[in-house]
């Protein structure tokens, strides 16, 4: 049999006084406290172990229905949420823009009210407009989980990135994270910046000036356009995908030029600390943001991120669905 691996036990004296989580929705990380983010990560550690059991399923959300409502295309996030819900014994309905009545002119709110009328308990929403999740969260009794809203936030991606850093390096505080690439259009970057700064990490954004404007410095991060100078000091490099679908060509002259200045090549990676982590939220453009060999090397934790995403999403579903503000 595959038995559980004995693991280090968290102190049983952890404070039980203040409620650790009180939100029915997860819209973004900007509004969460460091303690709340840490609680999600701790809860995710417990859920990660479920994947090592003989029976990889727990009954926590039995009888609840989760709707994966993806108005914008996504495969890995949708599948990750779907598997997370299955592992928690929830029922899952998948809807995409093309299968919903949005194409027939129904508004987002009306579609959502219809989902609620079907007794959906959790709605996981991916939408191209910033603020779409907040809009629904304020209007529905169901839990609303933001799976990416425009260029605003992608909280579960940042939580799984943070979880992976903490798991591999043992802490977040004092860690130097370089986020490289298409920051301007990146909800992943925004959510990561909020999470990392709240937990005490240092963040440097690197990319062409058109994609990494200095306005980001107002969030409390460093901005630079010189990747080579950042690499020797970074504990983590998080490479973001160039989002062809969200930008026009004039942001940089060519993919080749982008790679020559900001791609993590083998030669450039030699400047990294030996223990530095290489991360990427996927899908990877091999040969653009990162050399193919590096993506598969031992310092790359790209597939750990995928595994951890499942645990983090189980934790988020459990915590949000377990928060019922209407109960006394």
């Amino acid at each position: 049999m595959s038995a559980a691996t004995p693991v280090q036990q968290k102190s049983v004296t952890a404070s039980k006084d203040a409620p650790a989580w009180t939100h029915k929705d997860l819209v973004g990380l900007e509004d969460l406290t460091a303690a709340e983010i840490t609680h999600v990560l701790d809860t995710a550690s417990a859920f990660k172990d479920v994947g090592t059991r003989e029976i990889k399923k727990v009954p926590a959300l039995r009888g609840q229905t989760m709707v994966n409502f993806f108005v914008e295309a996504s495969t890995r996030t949708r599948v990750s949420f779907e598997l997370a819900a299955h592992r928690l014994s929830a029922d899952v309905i998948n809807m995409t823009a093309s299968t919903s009545s949005l194409t027939k002119g129904e508004t987002l709110k009306d579609t959502a009210l219809n989902l609620q009328a079907l007794h959906a308990d959790i709605i996981v929403l991916r939408h191209s407009s910033a603020g779409a999740s907040k809009f629904l969260a304020e209007r529905l009794d169901a839990s609303v989980i933001n799976a990416g809203d425009g260029a605003h936030e992608h909280p579960t991606q940042a939580l799984l990135d943070t979880f992976t850093i903490r798991e591999k390096l043992g802490r977040i505080e004092g860690i130097h994270v370089a986020i490289i690439g298409d920051i301007l259009f990146s909800r992943v970057a925004r959510s990561n910046i909020h999470a990392l700064l709240k937990l005490g990490a240092r963040v440097t954004l690197v990319g062409p000036s058109t994609l990494v404007p200095h306005e980001f410095e107002q969030m409390g991060v460093k901005v630079t356009h010189d990747l080579d100078s950042v690499l020797p000091d970074a504990d983590v490099v998080n490479l973001l995908r160039i989002q062809h679908e969200r930008q026009r060509k004039e942001y940089f002259p060519s993919l080749g030029e982008y790679t020559s200045l900001f791609g993590l090549t083998k030669q450039r990676a030699e400047r990294l600390k030996p223990e530095a982590l290489i991360m990427h939220p996927g899908p990877i453009n091999r040969g653009v943001e990162i050399d193919s060999e590096l993506a598969d090397c031992s310092r790359s934790v790209i597939l750990d991120q995928v595994t951890n995403g499942l645990a983090v999403r189980m934790a988020v579903l459990y915590l949000c669905a377990g928060t019922n503000p209407k109960r006394g």
Partner: protein
């Protein structure tokens, strides 16, 4: 050993003090030895949070009395409860720590208070998703009655008749930062 520790709520009656708790747990340890001649096949698994402390203490006493210190671990019950929607806030989830091999083991589940029996059921469900122990036994510091499931404890520190509305408070120095004591209050 403080004869009069401060009650957790005004008007609470002291049921067991630190010395009495120690006597109860030591007696339970002797009973575990009596019923399980091979302690290498026994694992004490605590239900968070105070059951974990009880498992650790029993492991220490068993070592003292028999020379064999059994495995002491943790079983999370939060993700195996069937009443998440009845809570206002989600119960804290803990990491489960079990022996690598369960199949030949006798698991002694430990908890502070036995009430409805639902927590014990969730703990047994959780353990069975890891494997199939030879048997599961159940040790509690206080049995206060009012079972809602056909479950009973194999080892009981103190049988405490209560009414449904009464509350039983267990405090441990290690988990609560208050002197070891069991209290009962009217509500």
């Amino acid at each position: 050993m403080n004869p009069d520790p401060t009650p957790p709520t005004p008007g609470a009656a002291l049921i067991l003090d630190a010395a009495a708790i120690e006597r109860c747990l030591k007696r339970i340890a002797h009973e575990i030895i009596e019923r399980n001649p091979d302690l290498t096949k026994v694992a004490l698994i605590g239900i968070p949070s105070r059951g974990v402390e009880i498992a650790k203490r029993l492991a220490t006493y068993l070592k003292e009395f028999s020379g064999t210190e059994p495995f002491a671990g943790v079983v999370d019950v939060a993700m195996h409860r069937d009443d998440l929607h009845r809570h206002r806030l989600p119960p804290r989830v803990e990491r489960t720590i079990l022996p690598l091999e369960l199949d030949d083991m006798t698991i002694v589940l430990t908890d502070d208070v036995l009430f409805s029996g639902r927590t014990c059921r969730a703990a047994m469900d959780s353990i069975s998703s890891f494997g199939r122990p030879a048997r599961i036994q159940y040790a509690v510091l206080v049995d206060r009655g009012h079972r809602e499931l056909p479950i009973r404890a194999d080892y009981v520190g103190k049988n405490l008749p209560t009414s449904l509305g009464e509350r039983v408070h267990v405090r441990f120095e290690t988990t609560d930062g208050m002197p070891d004591a069991v209290w009962m209050s009217p509500s």
